[in-house]
Assembly symmetry: C2
């Protein structure tokens, strides 16, 4: 039997009980060309909320009755495809379930002899790392000596952006929502300063920590803090627009900041979606894995066991309760 989370209502505002329903189903028999994968790790990401909205965006909308969509690291349990062998470890959109039958499309094998732990392929060496890498380097082209401000800086993507910024010689200031996270950013990741937006005056602290203004803003959050950050940005500064988590649970469209600062400061703002960089993942993988081996970059995964906990875990993302990349351990990691 296969435990699955089914999208049964499009959530309005925060995800409520009954929007997703846990359900047991039988695993269908494989036909030629198919594989059966068993999910090991399931990625929980802010973008998941958008996929549940019933609206097409950069991916097709989910339909009611679908298994909740999600990225996984999985192991091939059975195969009727020539492309996969039993025991292959793969990256897949295996969904919120224990098992998934697939025709193999979009499934990539993970190399096993790299010396990196398997869960790192779900964070720093996976989509999360790619998002940070291309979102910072390709979109904003940071130069040594520039000041980079990152929101949700202790989050999965933000914490990697911060460290890549340091590697590139930037002054890096991170914004986060707890003292623990702020301390970790400065003491463990070695960034130049952090701001607890819940307890500190963001405007004053930005002035203090960014005496030469802000050259690059990496946006994960949106909401009222963005306006304040815009007011500290420099002429010809850049914004990488990666996420807007503060608004994802909103029942109405939240207006954005006024565009006046974008105009008079000639700001270049670009939205991006990591999937657009799929052909360049190797480039990021090589740099990120080298930095990992050299001890220049760290990652933190927040792993919660049990597929049955996925719904409650996802909610943590929106109130900031997670600390590091949020992952569900669906089944025991066979490489440990």
């Amino acid at each position: 039997m296969n435990k699955q989370w089914i999208l049964s209502k499009f959530p309005v505002g925060e995800i409520k009980e009954g929007d997703l329903v846990l359900h047991d189903s039988e695993i269908p028999k494989l036909i030629d060309g198919q594989i059966l994968i068993k999910n090991i790790y399931l990625s929980l990401d802010p973008a998941n909320r958008g996929w549940m909205s019933g609206q097409k965006s950069y991916v097709d909308a989910m339909q009611l009755g679908d298994v909740m969509r999600g990225g996984t690291i999985s192991i091939v349990e059975d195969t009727k495809s020539e492309k996969f062998e039993k025991g292959d470890i793969v990256n897949a959109m295996g969904g919120w379930q224990e098992y998934c039958v697939s025709d193999g499309k979009g499934i990539r094998k993970i190399p096993l002899n790299t010396g990196f732990k398997l869960d790192s392929f779900m964070s720093i060496l996976g989509m999360t790392g790619m998002t940070a890498y291309f979102g910072l380097l390709d979109i904003t082209k940071p130069k040594a000596g520039e000041t980079l401000v990152v929101s949700a800086a202790a989050g999965a993507v933000g914490s990697i952006v911060c460290q890549i910024g340091k590697i590139k010689g930037c002054r890096v200031i991170g914004i986060a929502g707890s003292q623990d996270k702020c301390d970790w950013l400065v003491n463990d990741l070695g960034i130049d300063g952090s701001i607890n937006y819940k307890t500190e005056n963001l405007r004053e602290k930005l002035k203090e920590l960014c005496p030469s203004g802000v050259d690059i803003y990496f946006e994960n959050v949106g909401g009222k803090n963005t306006e304040i950050i815009l007011s500290r940005m420099n002429v010809n500064s850049r914004i990488s627009l990666c996420g807007l988590i503060s608004g994802y649970n909103s029942e109405t469209i939240v207006p954005g900041p006024a565009w006046g600062n974008l105009l008079v400061k000639r700001i270049n703002l670009r939205g991006f979606i990591v999937f657009d960089y799929i052909k360049r993942y190797m480039e990021a993988f090589q740099d990120l894995s080298t930095w990992m081996r050299d001890g220049k970059i760290k990652y933190k995964n927040h792993i919660i066991p049990g597929i049955e906990n996925a719904e409650n875990a996802l909610k943590k993302l929106f109130n900031g309760e997670n600390f590091g990349k949020l992952i569900i351990e669906v089944s025991k990691d066979p490489t440990l």
Copy 2:
């Protein structure tokens, strides 16, 4: 004697009587290195409102008691500078006054034997044309076959943007605020369609006129229409942020559109200020003057005689009463 408009209060909201005061002063005697210029044409631009705000932006803030700042075409009446001769026609920041004494800094001579009328150097061959040229071509890099939407399309900058868009092979849709303007855009300038945002349903008309979505949006206006335009934009589309006239008279900061569309559509938005392109003006001048000679581009100036009318004329910009580039004829054009 020299009639001058003096900034005597920083306007709050709309410009009111008494914010600017007309005043007679004596013309000071020249000292070595100075020139006396007599203003012929005075440029009225949306940006003037920002200069009066008392806030530094991309230029220093004006102080109370200053002569109102403005770009002019002027003639050298007297000179104690080796760089200028009596009778030279120049481009200057001559201000809202009849005469101006200057050390010559930032003043450029206008070539007289080009065959172009002098007032064209205040619009299509001046700052207005440069703004349209670089704001469209450098910021958005239009490709043939793309759909370009322009707000304030019948305005000084907008009407040139529309025509450059056509020259580059775009499908061009202009948004304007009267039927006269809309008709002129289509019938005289030859763009593909126009929308009267005051009487038509912008959302519906955009859908009808931009069946393949919007690839480029040239923003002169801001306000609630922008959100609607964003909803019709394509993946990897671009926004050139040139102006936000709808908010310039606002007493409070008007929020902008939500950033969600910028993100999921990977929109590249860039603010710009024409002064940043000063070293490349020749490039624009050559193209624009060639297009003028070849009859590919037209301009429309709205010329109001009399420096005493400058304040009332400026107000026309904000309620859309002008039709074409708004210019005060301060003194008789000696080349006519």
